[in-house]
């Protein structure tokens, strides 16, 4: 089996970052008047 765990980890982190990042973005937009 090929050794490519690093790619999987990267993709999972990037996905989480985008989703959480968007959630945070939405939250901050409501704080600004």
């Amino acid at each position: 089996m090929p050794e490519n765990t690093a790619y999987m980890v990267t993709a999972y982190i990037v996905t989480a970052a985008i989703l959480v990042g968007y959630a945070v973005l939405l939250y901050r937009r409501t704080l600004k008047p």
Partner: protein
Amino acid sequence: MRLLKTGRWIAIVGLALLAAVYVRAIAFTPVERMQGVAQKIFYLHVPAAIWTETGMILVGVASIFYLFLKDPRLDRFAEATAEVGMMFGTIVLTTGPIWGKPIWGTWWTWDARLTLTLLLFLMYVGYLLLRGAVTEPGLRARYAAVLGISGMCLVPFVHLSVYMFRTLHPQPIVLKPSAPSLPGAMLATLAFSFLVFTVLYVGFVTQRYALSLLREQAEPHA
């Protein structure tokens, strides 16, 4: 405001469930023999892709109804779905190459899904840019609706032609990122992930919709 809070809670639940998806996908789903651990990217990539494309169709449908009914709620929904769809598109366009590199040996390939997602992403960008460029709300909604409907009509053409293209120029790689038939455990993980992405879609669109509503209420109409 109630709608905003509801949306926020749904999204938080979604993110918590996402953690569960991660655990299940990484620790409790078998590793695919040919592709190895990298195949697990599939469980995030596919649901995101489904929602990217569904989003565009929803924008189109909402736009059609808007042109007939002129209900601003439809326009707000279209705007919210477009933004969330673009965000999911970003996930597909990042996880796709990251998955492609170890499996195909290349960061990009004119694979059916990546090409379609790239075009969808460009359509979302155009849609949001157009909205940003028109200040008058009625005009903006109408223009956006025209673009949204056009975008939705383009999707089947891209599907068709990319599949046609592949039959003439076969892929240089053996493995494809999507398996038409999955063993039970993998299918369950995929289904769970898709469910969570749906929850996230609902939560985010609700919040974004509420944001538009709040903004309109804050500014007195001309």
